[in-house]
């Protein structure tokens, strides 16, 4: 799978070049994205300034929760954003071209477009993480420093896996625009806030079936040293992000594989 790394890299560099062609447009897009996320962040800020906490989460803790989401979203956007437009590849028939090349089709799709807007995610995410950690007096112990990149990788795998699964659905339906909209984007609304504000069933859903809570809610308990006895099922969930990431991504990849088989067997 990785023996052709230089070729994938060349594909990535080509798509970056294509994006950087319009420098002013890119810079402007970056500013606009900052605006967009500040709008989202502003909502949370106003509530917190007015009411001091949301379900026991202070301003600093909420910032950390938000930062973890947006920063990992930046990485997953960087790596997986081309999957959002996957239906175009199917509809226009471009995917067939990728299939005849002796390279992994998924890696080719991933290298085909490169979303520089993730820069905005990194800027906002890292600011929120830094501010949140400082404000809530987070102590960076050795364990936390080691676990941070691992948890981040898990969070990225969860989001990447979800995008991959939604793209794989396209093999059967040929369209997935509205699914992308709801499952990839709108669903993030759930985890802008601590999931403890929801009823039991929704918390269980966000933990076991659609495990978005592992992106930021559970790992935040570990990093912020929050009382884990109030966690939903088990205190160990605060370490569960890497495992959840692997499971989600493996399942999504299996679906993707099945999708390609289906796609080829109907004679494309």
């Amino acid at each position: 799978m990785f023996k052709n790394t230089p070729i994938y890299w060349k594909l990535v560099v080509t798509s970056i070049r294509a994006k950087m062609e319009y420098k002013v447009t890119f810079l402007f897009l970056l500013i606009a994205l900052l605006f967009y996320y500040l709008g989202q962040l502003g909502v949370i800020l106003i509530i917190l300034v007015k009411f001091k906490n949301i379900n026991g989460w202070s301003l600093g803790e909420m910032a950390f929760l938000y930062g973890l989401l947006v920063f990992s979203q930046g990485i997953s956007t960087l790596l997986f954003s081309s999957l959002n437009y996957f239906e175009n590849l199917i509809i226009e028939g471009d995917f067939d071209r990728l299939l005849v090349r002796p390279l992994n089709p998924l890696l080719q799709v991933l290298a085909s477009s490169f979303e520089l807007s993730s820069v905005a995610h990194f800027l906002i995410g890292s600011t929120a993480l830094y501010y949140g950690a400082t404000r809530s007096g987070l102590e960076w112990t050795f364990q936390k420093i080691v676990f941070f990149p691992i948890a981040l990788a898990g969070a990225v795998l969860i989001q990447g896996g979800i995008r991959l699964a939604v793209a794989a659905v396209t093999f059967w339906t040929t369209r997935n625009r509205s699914l992308v909209h709801t499952i990839v984007y709108s669903s993030k609304e759930f985890i802008l806030y601590p999931i403890s504000i929801y009823n039991f069933w929704v918390q269980a859903f966000l933990t076991l079936i659609f495990p978005l809570a592992f992106i930021n809610f559970y790992p935040s308990h570990f990093f912020l040293a929050r009382d884990s006895s109030t966690l939903l099922f088990h205190p160990a969930l605060q370490y569960g992000t890497p495992l959840a990431g692997l499971i989600v991504f493996a399942m999504a990849y299996a679906l993707w594989k099945a999708g390609i088989n289906h796609y080829q067997s109907v004679g494309n």
């Binding site: 909502v43 509205s178 929704v202």
Partner: protein
């Protein structure tokens, strides 16, 4: 835009009005075609209503009132539900013009013997009527059953809200239209739309009522039109704003409709001129 030629056929037989009614009808029918999008859209709406009602319930923490909030818990839940429903009811396609300029399809629209902005507005109304019947009404029923939202008792609240909604809808439509006109001068308008969306999210009152903003921000918010889109209709509907104050805000809304409409009209004229100079 597939059946464009049929619209002009009716034109010679009467005044312009039936033509626009035709646009409304066509746009309504176009929406029916996307069933899957519809269910996902309803699900999306429920998701947002659920998140925000849960959020306010958590902030009120079981109490009926909250220090610093002029709303009772039940009013707050109603606010969250109806602000979101009004927001869904105002969902509109906001980059039709940008797409048509890029593909050149706009020249086809220009040769039709109708006012192009009015044609687009009619299409938006068709879309909106569709949203009312298929999304807003079902979602309202579900919300009333599931989220403790309360409908107002006084008939006047319905009348005032209807007026406020129409004015708010017009303000949003004109803003969207104005932003999409930027496509005549810029090749990429997506960035402008993101910015607009950011401002709308924060300042329309769709999520957080303007009452909760810090005091220094309120006079600034009063200077921009966003709060008149969702905050005013929702506040009137839940009874947070009543009587003379409601009337005053309706008048301000009307002033915004005319001001923004006028600016937009001038920009539209300039855009038309630009297109003709370029030989479009």
């Amino acid at each position: 835009m597939s059946s464009e030629n049929t619209h002009t056929d009716t034109f010679p037989f009467g005044p312009a009005k039936p033509v626009y009614l035709n646009f409304i009808e066509k746009s309504f029918q176009k929406q029916i075609a996307y069933k899957f999008e519809y269910f996902v859209g309803v699900l999306n709406g429920l998701l947002f209503i659920f998140v925000f009602t849960s959020l306010w319930n958590a902030i009120y923490a079981g109490a009926d009132t909250l220090e610093g909030s002029p709303f009772t818990r039940s009013q707050m839940i109603s606010y969250a539900v109806f602000a979101m429903l009004f927001r869904i009811s105002m969902t509109m396609e906001d980059n039709e013009i940008g797409r048509k300029i890029r593909t050149g399809a706009i020249s086809m629209d220009f040769i039709k013997p109708v006012s192009y902005p009015l044609m687009l507005f009619s299409e938006a109304i068709g879309q909106t009527l569709f949203h009312w019947f298929t999304r807003v009404i079902p979602l309202s029923i579900i919300s009333l059953l599931a989220f403790d939202a309360v409908m107002p008792q006084a008939p006047s609240a319905y009348v005032l809200t209807a007026i406020a909604w129409v004015l708010g809808y017009s303000i949003l439509y004109i803003i969207n239209f104005g932003f999409s006109l930027l496509a005549f001068w810029f090749t990429e308008v997506f960035s402008f739309q993101l910015m607009k969306f950011g401002l709308f999210t924060l300042f329309s009152g769709g999520i957080v009522p303007i009452d909760f903003f810090p005091d220094f921000a309120k006079p600034l918010i009063a200077l921009i039109p966003f709060q008149y889109i969702l905050y005013v209709p929702t506040s009137i509907f839940i009874g947070h704003i009543q009587g003379a104050e409601a009337i005053r805000l309706l008048l301000i809304q009307a002033v915004w409709v005319f001001t923004l409409g006028f600016i937009c009209w001038r920009v539209w004229k300039a855009a038309q001129k630009k297109l003709i100079i370029q030989g479009g």
